[in-house]
Symmetry: C2
Subunit: 200 residues, 2 copies
């Protein structure tokens, strides 16, 4: 069926009216606790997209990467061009299966978490990204209670983004915005390797 | 149960060995057709994260936004700082329910699509983002056959990213990497409005 232009325009007018009615009730501005989880790709990428948007608006952003650091990432090179509005800390020394040293992993996680706490407490930061914090929680490298106490007591006007698969239930409960990235199709399965611009 | 450090290290060694075996078979580098779809947030943000990574690696990227343009976006301000490696076209004049003019929407979609086609054909671009193209296809503003013919014939070394909810089945079939963003929790439901750094 081909819709005539007139019918389409009528439909769009109704849609606009409904949209405006909904948006009229959305007046609240607040700092969000945001979680990107799931097995699909895009958890970190989507957080980096938000960081890009925020610094574009002149908001100061703090980024702490818990389990990256092995690759020289493209995002770091871009963010380095905006030193006044972004502090970028790649703390994790590769994935845990590369280090095989639990005590060292815990120490690194602790150090990274102290950075996150500092950024959450400092009013200068409008957004804080704790990238792959869920992975660290999954391995019990940090006590969940301690992390949740800090996240749930964050300043009301601050956005905090936590990424990583297997987000703990308590974090999902406490969050304002939770997106699950679901893998529908992945090229690793057919022999394609990690590539710049896509994975790092 | 608390795992001892030794047991953890053994487990991680096994994990590393398995990981290396898998990665040894992943030697192929190829341009990917990537789709971000689903009702959740993060489809465009994740694409922008990939764009940020790519330009950080010095890859030239073309971005065409099909249905944005009403908001002054944060990402545009960041990408404007890298004019040599990114061409950014915000073509869409707000959402369709704001324009209520199907003929005009189709003309705008056509104009945006011509930009995408040009970037896909031009070897200078290593990555092309057709942001919200799925929405345009959903409203039949562009013929699906024509779009699929161009996407499936893209140069082998080029990454093309298509975003938007309701990705057509043919596109999912043809894609190398498909992620569905699923909404678990959304603050709009509790009266929070769209905010800079998050939605735009």
């Amino acid at each position: 069926m081909t819709m005539t232009d007139e019918r389409h325009n009528e439909k769009m007018q109704k849609k606009q009216a409904a949209h405006e009615k909904i948006m009229a009730n959305k007046t609240q501005e607040k700092g969000l606790l945001i979680v990107h989880t799931g097995k699909g790709k895009g958890k970190t990428s989507a957080a980096l997209g938000m960081v890009t948007r925020a610094i574009g608006h002149g908001m100061k952003v703090g980024v702490v990467q818990f389990v990256k650091g092995a690759w020289e990432t493209g995002e770091k090179k871009v963010f380095d061009a905006f030193p006044d509005v972004i502090e970028f800390k790649a703390m994790g020394e590769g994935f845990t299966w590369d280090t095989q040293d639990r005590a060292r992993d815990i120490a690194v996680a602790r150090e990274a978490w102290e950075e996150v706490k500092r950024m959450i407490a400092d009013p200068a930061y409008r957004m804080v990204l704790a990238d792959e914090l869920n992975i660290v929680l999954r391995y019990d490298y940090l006590p969940l209670d301690e992390v949740m106490a800090v996240l749930t007591a964050k300043p009301a006007d601050k956005h905090v983004i936590v990424t990583g698969r297997n987000a703990p239930e308590a974090l999902i409960e406490a969050a304002d915005l939770v997106t699950e990235m679901t893998m529908v199709k992945h090229p690793f399965r057919s022999g394609v390797k990690a590539q710049p611009g896509i994975e790092y």
